[in-house]
């Protein structure tokens, strides 16, 4: 019988963050996505994954297809995800602001992360903050930045100070690769 850790309550209280990762496969028609839930210590809690194929056709603009595929992927991932995270974190260069500002409404804060040296389109309804350490990034919050004393705020702070703001995206990629490796499929 596994033994619970001694700090379980504290970690439990902060809840989880969901990292949304979408990967475009090199064939240009397949998109793969994962919603990776980790707790405040970066431990994995849940990994939801899916793949979507788009028509290889000139009927739709490539950018439109990508946005549409991302929305469908995200919808399927959210519908499958069993736990309710405290916040969703995604990369601004993968996820347009329209996805969560217009198309999918979440009851929890969304945080899109962008490197400061990249020009990132964002919605006027998003709230922008900047983190300098350990690496300078912009955070675009929708519908707004969590209140200072809120659990969400403590969670994102903990993730940032622990070097976990971006690192779980790497693990999500590893997970996607593993799921769709030839030996698995």
């Amino acid at each position: 019988m596994p033994v619970p850790f001694r700090d379980a309550d504290e970690i439990e209280e902060l809840g989880s963050a969901a990292y949304l990762k979408v990967v475009a496969v090199e064939d240009g028609v397949t998109y793969r996505g994962a919603l990776f839930l980790v707790n405040a210590r970066g431990e994995p809690l849940e990994f939801t994954y899916n793949s979507i194929e788009t028509p290889n056709t000139y009927l739709w603009r490539k950018e439109d297809i990508r946005r549409h595929a991302t929305r469908k992927l995200t919808t399927s991932l959210l519908s499958t995800c069993q736990k309710v995270p405290k916040l969703v974190i995604c990369l601004a260069d993968e996820i347009d602001h329209t996805l969560f500002c217009n198309e999918i409404h979440l009851s929890i804060p969304i945080c899109r992360v962008a490197y400061v040296n990249e020009a990132t389109p964002h919605s006027p309804s998003e709230v922008q903050t900047t983190i300098e350490d350990p690496q300078p990034v912009h955070l675009f919050w929708f519908p707004g930045k969590p209140a200072d004393e809120s659990t969400e705020h403590r969670l994102i702070n903990r993730l940032v100070t622990s070097g976990l703001l971006l690192e779980p995206f790497n693990r999500a990629i590893i997970g996607i690769k593993e799921v769709y490796s030839p030996s698995t499929t």
Partner: protein
Amino acid sequence: MSVTNAKEPWWTISADTEELHPRWSGIFHRNLILKASRPGLLTIPQVRSKISKCVDCNVLTDQPAVLLIEPETPVPQVIPSNSIVPVGDEGGSVALANVLAAEEPTTTSISEGIPTENLQKSLKPPRTLNVLPDQRMSLAKRLAYLLQPPTNILASALGPLEWHATLFPYQQEGVHILLSQNVLLLADDMGLGKTIQAIAALRILAVQHRMEAALVIVRASLLVQWRKELRTWSPELRISTVHGTATERAYQWMAPAHVYLTTYETLRSDLTNNPVSPPRRRTWDVVILDEAQQIKNPNAEVSRKCKLLPRKRAWALTGTPLENRLDDLASILEFVAPLRDGETPIRFQPNAAMLEKHKQLQLRRKKSEVMKQLPPKTTSRVDLSLTDSQMESYKKAEEQGILQLRGMGEEVRIESVLELILRLKQICNFCPKTGQSAKLDDIRERLSTLVSEEHRALIFSQFVDKQFGVAAVADALKEFAPLIYTGSLTSSKRNDVIQAFKNDISHKVLVISLRAGGLGLNLQEASYVFHFDRWWNPAAENQAESRADRIGQTRPVHVYKYVCEGTIEERIEQILSEKQMLFDEIVDDVSIDLKTRLTAKELFGLFGLSAPSKAKPSSKNSTALPDYTTMSGIEFEQYVKNLLERKGWTVETTPPTRDGGIDLIANRTVEMGVDIKLYIQCKNHASPVGVETIRQLNGVLPKHQPGSRGVVVCPSGFSADARVFANDREILLWERQQLFDMSG
């Protein structure tokens, strides 16, 4: 954690979301037809959720569904397929450790001074694994491992795990190698933190769910130290210390824990031929042997039993893997291998093949190699258990002392408590009946290693006598040709001792009376300092350590401070830590100081007693003290003299015109024959005394007289510079409160 509530979904699709329109919809007018199936979900089990297996997992669908947009096309596999796929047996994580390690820059953090090439040659960290897929392991399980936080993040000071202190780069490297090598002989030089590296690796394994239970086997004298280090460096982990009576041990083996900590002796008792004897009942994820030279004799019972432990990982820690013969090394290496249940331990013959194996299994860093990473001085607190006879004497003395204190009723004095403390401190050094000493055992063990590495050491004690102090320590360490430096030596003799230590390297140890040798000596020849007993005075201890840690020292200095578990040493240390007080002067043979730092309640509380009303300081009552300023100088001296005499001191008044600044000389012989002499200057000024008065007394104090202290008494207090000056020279300052205490 809450689960999606069907009535109140936490996400919705906006009603006005537009569907994707074809570019030329007017011409082609094609509809999007979705053929959806359920996507995959992997729930990573949490240890805290108390599920049945910490590494197993639950998948809703074996194969993830594919959401298609027509026209349907086959799924191409163009994501590079050389992704890492773990291999290994279903029940274990041996190969998975390598898989995880392959994702980690196991050697990228190597910094200057580390013999990187040798390490890589010998250890071959598995960085470039390209292992074949193993279908025996489920996708869910593979993902459960692959999605754990990487080791470099976990070991980092800025990572999600809070570390007690930042691991040095060579220590981080050691942790990486421990995690990537299931078997390792960690043979770093003493003082480089083998224990910490092993604990850090255990912690990371547990957090990554790669370990359910580990067994750590240590010398009995280090059990307390290991427990403390485990709690400090892996606070999340639950520890079961297996030590005590057979009944207690039976429960301790059964207690749910991540780490089972036990001794070689206990293992020898509890591991029997019965395959379900507690240590053999499970296959340990990790077995660690601390001071692995304990199993150097392959024929010893404890050696054979350690090697019988079913284990997936085997880590041996020792600073001296090869003490005398190659057979010793062979015996240790026989342990450094996994052992499945039912298998027979391997045997090595001391030959070339064994030496080659040794190269592959050993990670050894010398201090000289990592010196640039080390701070100039490292201080470690060593927690020890008293030996059985010491504990027996200690308990007896404590019980008797408490009875005596209780018997005094309301007449009990704080000084009686202080005398009991002094007595107990002495027993913590040596058992008065048998002469046994846990501290000495530990020092002897450490010195054996240090001397082989050509280090030399200073040992400080506040006691000088042959039973509990410097003389006793030196007598017990004869094999290291110790020299003694105490205040009883003449000036020329002291000089001879210092020169002998500096010039003759056969003297490995210098045992010093803290009071006599704590100041002024240059002893850079030594790089290890042991505080045999605690002065509880950081300034005094620092001064003593500075004998070795000073300009001209070419090596890092390591300081060890001993604290005996469950004794007065530990209790006082704990109170002082809680109060976060910096002690200028504290209980020593001049025991008056302690009561200026601890309240009567705390002092009596050390022994579970309530302070009698007389002993309790009260600010209200202190105002009822006489008005000292109305006394003449001689009257005030007489007043102080009377107070001291009531407390059992023999007080001599110096001639008024020839006192040289000293008004009273107070003598007292406390229990155990320690003589104390106070040189007292009395000032009943209306305003605080300045530094000049303290300087004057300091100038006339006899030098190098053990057991003597200077005291300045002034009810109105002292100026700040007077306090600093007195503090530096260990001169006691008594104010109104001290006088009140004495009058109680």
